[in-house]
């Protein structure tokens, strides 16, 4: 049961985080195409925002790993 919950949870985490990071990537690529001279700033902001999403996703992923090994 813990294994099943961990698998479903990891899948849902992947959906959410992938959607969020996809949105960031879309916006970043669009704005780099619009203003190529600002690409350094945009890349920094993109990595920072992606890291914030990734932090939430990883907290969820670690809950799933804990479920696999300890539940």
């Amino acid at each position: 049961m813990g294994l099943l919950a961990a698998g479903i949870g990891a899948g849902i985490v992947a959906i959410g985080a992938g959607f969020g990071i996809g949105m960031i990537g879309k916006a970043a690529v669009e704005s780099i195409a619009r203003q190529p001279e600002a690409s350094a700033d945009i890349r920094g902001a993109m990595i920072l925002t992606a890291a914030l999403i990734e932090g939430v996703a990883l907290i969820a992923a670690i809950v799933c790993i804990l479920l696999v090994f300890f539940a």
Binding site: G44, L48, A51, E54, G55, L58, I59, I65, F69
Partner: protein
């Protein structure tokens, strides 16, 4: 396959245990300290600097420029703390390519210690640059109702800082271990190379987030002045 490198114990005497986290974080410290000791023996100025000094100077200048770009102020105040965090995490992440070596940042103890040092550094830098009263007024800034949310936000971002670094590095080595069981020849090498990229990005992210937290706590005063000048300027035009 080890999920918790705190449980790999190399040497034990009574209640003193030397686990992998301790050993490798001390190894990283020895590497960093010996390199900087070796380089800073014969520092010179002018054009005739040695090759090793040029190498380390260019590294420090890159960190300095990044700090200036992020905080939008010309100061060297954050350089020692943020630079040390960045270099320590970077070297810790990168030593995982050596076979048999576990990165110390794959342990929640190390990353929690780093995140707590950021948590402590925020009020130290904030009070140091703005004074006690001005710093604590920041917690009740829009209304006193926001006090609990500000405190919760500060705690949760510390937790996120620790778990982000731990999760990335731990899952990187875990994926390599799982892939070694499935397809031992090719894919672990690719994932290991990918893990190097992740390690550099995570060191950058940790340092930049720590910098943003510290700078935002110590710089509200300036931004208020900037806002007021922005409001005044259109009237002048």
């Amino acid at each position: 396959m080890e999920i918790n490198i705190d449980q790999i114990i190399y040497w034990e005497w009574g209640f003193i245990k030397l686990n992998a986290t301790l050993v490798y974080s001390w190894a990283v410290m020895v590497v960093l300290v010996s390199i900087s000791w070796f380089v800073s023996r014969d520092l010179t100025e002018g054009t005739g600097i040695s090759r090793k000094q040029a190498l380390i100077e260019s590294l420090v200048v890159v960190i300095q420029k990044q700090i200036e770009e992020t905080t939008q102020e010309k100061t060297d105040r954050y350089l020692p703390f943020i630079g040390t965090l960045f270099l320590f995490i970077l070297v810790s992440n990168l030593i995982s390519v050596i076979p048999g070596v576990y990165p110390p940042t794959a342990s929640l103890s190390t990353t929690a210690a780093l995140a707590i040092s950021v948590f402590v550094a925020v009020p130290i830098f904030g009070i140091g640059s703005r004074g006690v009263k001005s710093y604590f007024e920041n917690y009740v800034k829009p209304t006193p109702l926001m006090l609990p949310f500000n405190i919760i936000g500060e705690l949760s971002r510390t937790l996120a800082l620790a778990v982000r670094l731990f999760g990335n590095i731990m899952s990187g080595s875990l994926i390599v271990a799982i892939l070694l069981g499935l397809s031992p020849l090719f894919f672990p090498v690719v994932m290991q190379a990918f893990g190097l990229l992740i390690g550099v990005i995570q060191a950058y992210v940790f340092a930049i987030l720590a910098l943003v937290y510290i700078a935002s706590a110590s710089r509200i005063h300036n931004s208020e002045e900037a806002d007021s000048t922005e409001i005044i300027n259109p009237q002048n035009r």
